[in-house]
């Protein structure tokens, strides 16, 4: 490759991966839509803040309603950063590199908002700090806030470190940037000049982060599962809850990544970088984690179903044939069994079909959390006497629904902003792979 070829490829690469960094009409409309929706939802939250949690459908029986289901879902979705970057990255899967930043973006967005989701379930949110002030080291609640905070910081650093080199390239080589963005990129690039020492620091830091990310991510969702599993209630009293939650999280996260890949590829014209191969491989990943999740599902339902202790029997009856049966089977068949079957075939791992499958899987993943959290509480071991009907049967209210939607909007805003102002595909990495080993920073 001659110098000129080199320059040509590099210019095209830079332009391909950064041309979307500009404020256009589409972006403004999309952000405007998100912002207005967010304000509507936040207004609903102010009502809850003023009037109290009574505006939600949660009562003395079902005290953990949609908010908690939402929390579990958010923690789950954030776990994908660990699977893609750390697990697949560390074992040397080369094809995963262009997807790592998408996965990290999703991880950062969901982890950042997961903490807020919990606050939505608090009647006195100003007492959040009490968790730390009065927290007991024996309580999974303390472990949960600790690991979520830690995982968020780790993910944020892991998102930022590979960006340093990209920022340096962009602020030096890309001319048509909005003028106010240039100084931002300059300060974020930390005067990176691609010298070996700088690269060494970055590579070593990334490696440490990747290794730390695995136990942190495993803890965050295992601890979240323990919030349920350390009680003796039917449906929660389970020894496989940790791996059941973690495998379920990988399913939700992989689906989220595939959906994001699809829209970035289309909107930012990245067809040459996110190819059918990537979708095919991510489809295989989704199929694999879904199979693992199916395995834990069988364990989770077959074993108590075989023994049929009284409380379990009531719980399983409601799920399999009772009030929650339709939702349960829709989730298990439409969100797990059918997707697995489809994904076995190559043609369903093409971008459009795998994206549609992922949407189904992701929706099912949310409702699965709902079924894990809510039905158990509707049949307590010691029912309260003389309670009204709405204590016994949980039905979410409109305000509650709006407050549940708010975190999704926040996640979309975060993902939109990160993907809009930074290259979706790691630029510096790509450049190295194309054989352009050193760019002259003049």
């Amino acid at each position: 490759m001659t110098m000129d070829d080199n320059k040509l490829t590099f210019d095209k690469l830079t332009s391909d991966l950064t041309h979307h960094i500009r404020i256009n009409k589409g972006f403004l409309i999309w952000m405007g839509f998100l912002t207005i929706s967010l304000f509507i939802c936040l207004y609903a939250y102010t009502i809850q803040l003023r009037t109290g949690l009574g505006v939600a459908g949660i009562r003395d029986y079902v005290t953990w309603g949609m908010y908690l289901a939402n929390f579990v879902f958010f923690v789950a979705a954030s776990l994908i950063g660990m699977l893609v970057s750390a697990v697949l990255g560390l074992i040397g899967m080369k094809w995963i590199t262009p997807i790592t930043r998408i996965a990290e973006t999703i991880a950062v967005a969901f982890a950042a908002v997961a903490g807020l989701v919990i606050v939505s379930d608090m009647g006195r949110p100003e007492r959040l700090a009490y968790v730390f002030i009065y927290g007991r080291p024996q309580s999974p609640i303390l472990w949960d806030v600790t690991v979520i905070t830690t995982y968020f910081v780790l993910s944020l650093l892991l998102l930022f470190l590979p960006l340093i080199a990209d920022m340096a390239i962009i602020h030096r080589k890309v001319d048509n940037l909005p003028s106010w963005l240039k100084p931002v990129y300059k300060s974020l690039s930390l005067n990176f000049t691609d010298n070996p020492q700088q690269n060494k620091i970055i590579n070593r830091s990334i490696r440490i982060l990747l290794i730390l990310l695995i136990p942190a991510a495993l803890s965050i969702h295992t601890v979240t599962s323990w919030l349920f599993a350390v009680t003796s209630r039917a449906g929660w009293d389970s020894t496989v809850f940790g791996p059941y939650f973690v495998s379920g999280a990988f399913v939700a996260g992989s689906a989220a990544v595939i959906i994001a890949m699809f829209f970035f590829r289309k909107n930012y014209k990245l067809q040459d970088y996110l190819t059918d191969v990537h979708f095919n491989n991510m489809g295989k990943v989704l199929a694999t984690v879904s199979l693992v999740y199916l395995y834990f599902n069988i364990n989770e339902f077959l074993v108590p179903g075989y023994k049929l202790k009284r409380a379990d029997a009531v719980h399983l009856q409601e799920l399999f044939a009772g009030k929650d049966a339709i939702l349960f089977w829709l989730i298990q068949v439409g969100g797990l069994l059918l997707p697995i079957l489809f994904m076995l075939f190559r043609r369903f791992r093409k971008p459009l079909p795998i994206m549609l499958i992922s949407v189904a899987v992701l929706i099912a993943a949310w409702f699965k959390r709902y079924l894990i959290v809510v039905p158990t509480q509707e049949h307590p071991f010691l029912p309260i006497q003389h309670v009204p009907q709405n204590f016994m049967h949980y039905s979410p209210t409109l305000i509650e629904t709006l407050i549940t939607i708010a975190p999704f909007i926040m996640v979309l805003i975060i993902i939109t902003l990160i993907s809009k102002f930074f290259p979706v595909i790691p630029l510096h990495d790509k450049k190295k792979k194309k054989g352009i080993d050193h760019i002259k920073f003049d």
């Binding site: 080291p137 470190l161 340093i164 005067n191």
Partner: protein, 300 residues
């Protein structure tokens, strides 16, 4: 089919609740009962305090319609449904209760109960108090109990004395005595009810296997069995070293999973703290390295 069944059950439930709501009938003689004294501002004030302590959790604040959502609904007592009732009716309902409303017979004294009614009536501008009928002077027995432990007999001796008509004190025979020992959750009765003999004494055998505190002390109390409240009685309390010496730490006094924060198991504190320190140590190190990147560019 299932729907029909549900309808059937629902109609039964609503029928039963309607019937039971209607059947809280106050006996006529109780309806006619009137307060023993004229309601005063002091009584109303005291009644308000009792109301906030005992009634508000279900009936809500007076006039605010914020009663608890229970079946049957407790309702706001400032409203007509409560205020049309006679003082006697209100007094009876407070005294006797009817599930889910608790009975206040043993929680509030008669005076307290009348104070609450005095307070409730302040929300009814049309209310005129019927002429009070003072209670007849008390003519029953006035009994006081005393407790001792007789070492030679190995028995607990309860002595009942009573006030005689001439102002003297004498021993009370024929009084039914109950003996209790204090346990973790309330009192446990010891033996059967016994009647005092001509010397006003009742003897109780104390079980040999009951645990006491670390010095073997158990708290004993003696009471008169007087279900119809025809006497005025004063119970007796005493502590004797007749239990088995037990020195077990309380459930939250040792280090354990379930204990308080100050009694967390050492290994949990270590695991938690070390993990946090190690991981955050690395994070701080990485942040420090990132700051170094900036410096390195100047040196090149």
């Amino acid at each position: 089919m299932r729907f029909k069944k549900l309808l059937f059950i629902l109609s039964i439930i609503s029928f039963v609740t309607r019937i039971s709501a209607q059947t809280w009938v106050v006996p006529d003689d109780q309806k006619a009962v009137v307060a023993p004294v004229k309601f005063t501002a002091d009584m109303q004030k005291q009644g308000e305090q009792q109301y906030l302590k005992n009634c508000q959790s279900c009936h809500g604040l007076m006039g605010k319609d914020n009663w608890a959502k229970l079946t049957p609904p407790p309702g706001d007592l400032s409203k007509e449904k409560a205020q049309v009732q006679t003082d006697g009716e209100l007094f009876y309902r407070i005294t006797a209760g009817k599930v889910p409303m608790p009975e206040f017979r043993n929680i509030l004294t008669e005076d307290d109960r009348w104070s609450v009614i005095a307070y409730l009536r302040t929300f009814n501008p049309k209310y005129i108090q019927p002429t009070p009928v003072a209670k007849a002077a008390f003519t029953g027995r006035i009994v006081t109990l005393a407790l001792e432990y007789s070492d030679p007999m190995k028995k607990i001796v309860v002595t009942a004395s009573e006030q005689l008509k001439d102002g003297q004190t004498g021993l009370a025979a024929g009084v039914e005595i109950m003996l209790f020992v204090k346990r973790y959750f309330g009192r446990m009765q010891v033996g059967e009810i016994k009647t005092t003999n001509a010397q006003g004494k009742a003897l109780f055998e104390f079980p040999a296997d009951l645990p006491g505190n670390k010095d073997g002390f158990v708290e004993i109390s003696a009471m008169v069995n007087d279900p119809k409240s025809v006497m005025k009685t004063t119970p007796a309390n005493a502590s004797f070293a007749i239990g088995i010496k037990t020195d077990k730490p309380g459930l939250t006094e040792t280090r354990a999973w379930w204990s308080t924060r100050d009694h967390a198991p050492i290994w949990i504190i270590l695991t938690y703290t070390l993990s946090v320190i190690i991981v955050w140590g690395f994070i701080i190190y990485i942040v420090y390295s990132i700051m170094k990147i900036k410096k390195l560019s100047r040196e090149v």
